[in-house]
């Protein structure tokens, strides 16, 4: 990663947001199986619970529990177009640091494989705080269940994965997303037609061959080391209720601390 490039919003616009917008449909076709921890969290919710899915991607978690209602959001319009097809849920385009929801209006929230895309420590803590700010504060009544958020991030410690990262590795990494040539065949065909109007046969075939090769997009990730997610949650004014490691990821279920008030107070 270039040390000259300052991280922050502009950096993420180039190395995260624009990539997902480009790869949305291929990405979505590979994202259909819910991760077990997320599935369990959603299925254990009381019937009628209303929650948010922050960074919903293609909306694969919207269908897990038909007895809850989810207001989903994602930074990528192309992914929201896919996510909103899951009835009766709704999906809007939003940034996870500027969510368009009233404070404390949801019973639960999930943010799965999202916060690791923020490129500074302060922005990651801010993203956790934004999720916690969605959660209903307990009324104090007997039997009032605590509102909870499930947060899931990629782990640094994944020596058994094909990527082979582990303790001691650089935590800020660029990860390739590869779309094989064949999957872009349709677009190539269109480009070929346009090309043929201006260029002669030889160069046209060369271009086509190049385009049929794989196209690689690089996405920025911050790989979380052990304990770091808990640290970010506490820094954001949350309490970790449960946490663990599942298949190359760290996860935590968090609630707002009892005495945490509105943003900025």
């Amino acid at each position: 990663m270039s040390k000259l490039e300052a991280r922050g919003e502009g950096y993420e616009a180039e190395h995260v947001h624009s990539v997902y917008e480009e790869i949305a449909s291929h990405f979505s076709s590979t994202r259909y199986k819910p991760w077990p921890i997320v599935e369990r969290f959603l299925k254990e919710l009381p019937d009628g619970a209303v929650g948010a899915d922050v960074g919903c991607g293609n909306g694969k978690y919207l269908t897990v529990n038909p007895r809850v209602f989810i207001v989903a959001s994602d930074r990528s319009t192309n992914l929201v177009k896919i996510a909103r097809q899951h009835q009766p849920h709704v999906a809007v385009v939003a940034d996870n640091l500027s969510l368009p929801h009233p404070l404390y209006c949801f019973d639960f929230a999930i943010s799965i494989a999202v916060i690791h895309h923020l490129s500074t420590s302060a922005r990651r803590v801010e993203a956790v705080r934004a999720v916690l700010d969605l959660l209903r504060r307990p009324s104090g009544d007997v039997g009032d269940s605590e509102s909870r958020a499930l947060i899931y991030v990629w782990a640094l410690e994944q020596k058994d994965s094909r990527r082979g990262w582990d303790e001691g590795h650089e935590q800020d990494v660029m990860v390739p997303w590869v779309i094989k040539g064949g999957q872009k065949a349709k677009r190539v065909k269109g480009q070929r037609k346009r090309k043929s109007e201006a260029e002669h046969q030889d160069s046209e075939e060369q271009t086509l061959a190049e385009q049929l090769q794989s196209k690689t997009y690089m996405r920025y990730y911050h790989l979380y080391r052990k304990g770091e997610l808990r640290h970010d949650i506490e820094e954001a004014g949350g309490v970790v209720i449960d946490s663990g490691y599942e298949k190359d990821n760290w996860w935590a279920i968090a609630s707002p601390k009892r005495d945490t008030g509105p943003i900025g107070s």
Binding site: V92, V93, A94, D95, P102, C105
Partner: protein, 127 residues
Amino acid sequence: MKLLTLNFLTCAIKTCKTSPSSFPLHPQDAELEIVESDVNMAFLRNILPRLMWEELRGITRELGLPELPETAPAAEDLGEPSQVAKDLHRLLLETSIREGKLVCGNCGHEYAVKEGIANFLLPGHLV
């Protein structure tokens, strides 16, 4: 975008959220469409106590839709399903904003709705 969504939306600008006038957002120049779906009684019963009824009445008035009763129906009014339930389903889940904008009553910022998708991304100077 289903009208029910407005029950859970406010301005994306942080300083607006603590101001009561930021909720609900006000639809403007809205082009509505009906997207039909099956009535889901369990869903309606669950969502009913979550509705901000007074604000919902305001939104329907602004959109020129039929006036809602002063108070929200009770769960037992929904029947299996009653006309009340069918009307509520039509309003919340089938009536959708296809094009238009959503305006914050506090800061006046306008969020576009295009092809049924509301976009809350803020320009750099407002983040």
